[in-house]
Symmetry: C2
DNA sequence: TTATTTGCAAAGTCTTTGCAAGCAG
DNA sequence: CTGCTTGCAAAGACTTTGCAAATAA
């Protein structure tokens, strides 16, 4: 039920593994994801930092999000709203069956767990020889709230 | 086997339906998709126009791609390469089961037909009450060419 | 004729980069 | 110490917009 996500504990190790340094900026940015979760853009993260009276610059936020994705701690998402968004990665590689339902009316993004994609991927591998290492699945439509409230 | 795609014939009708005008620019831009197919960015289309000694401006290309998507003649795609890409839409709504396999090594984009997503969508609708009207599915991995040639 | 459309250049948004100063290891 | 990092401002990539001239219906 509860997915295991990467956290602050994984950061130092993954950084030094690759010769990167642990900095207060990187720690603070990751902490925002650990504490608030969700799908945040660079600008979102930057806003939270400003609320917290942090002096971290926007360029540093971009660089940190990039690095954290490279380390596999965050996952980069694209909901087509003009900016990259990020979420905490699941530590368990078996738990990647988590898709996004994007409501075309209220723009809400709903998480959805579903395993059926395994079969699809096996099929693709068999038919095309393409070795799948990752996928991105988005469904667009109308959430139950918007469907009940008017058109 | 052969998908029916929208073409120049559908353009005039769909334009006037909504009070838009048929212009040589719009016709020429759509013709490029009909003749060359593929996944083209605004800049790609603009290059083809320049090769054809066309005087159409880049802003007009952006505006036409937007309009053609709105009319459902083109579909907007996002392969995460920093620019919007477009392809001809299938005229048949049953034929939307067409996914993209993106090779992480050679960046090639392979089309793949697969119906299995119906089941997944039905499942989602049942469990969450979300009404799906569209989806976008991308698989990242290594194509058979890159798998055989070296690492 | 008249509202839509075009081309150009300017402006906008998100993101990246150069560089000197700062800091982790 | 030494090389990785930061913050700032400038630059970059892609896209949108304002406006006067052109044009489809």
């Amino acid at each position: 039920m509860s997915e295991k996500l990467f956290g602050l504990g994984d950061l130092r190790e993954k950084l030094s593994e690759r010769g990167y340094k642990m900095t207060p900026q990187r720690k603070e940015i990751l902490k925002i994801f650990v504490e608030k979760g969700g799908h945040m853009s660079a600008e979102d993260v930057y806003s939270v930092l400003r609320e917290n009276d942090s002096e971290i610059g926007l360029a540093t936020v971009y660089r940190a999000l990039d690095l954290l994705s490279e380390l596999g701690i965050l996952v980069r998402l694209d909901f087509g709203d003009g900016c990259a968004r990020y979420e905490l990665n699941t530590a368990d590689p078996k738990l990647h069956h988590h898709h996004h339902l994007i409501c075309l009316k209220c723009k809400k993004v709903i998480e959805f767990e579903e395993d059926l994609l395994d079969e699809l991927e096996a099929n693709i591998a068999k038919k095309s020889g393409f070795q799948i290492v990752n996928h991105e699945v988005k469904f667009f439509g109308y959430c139950s709230d918007c469907r009940t409230k008017g058109d």
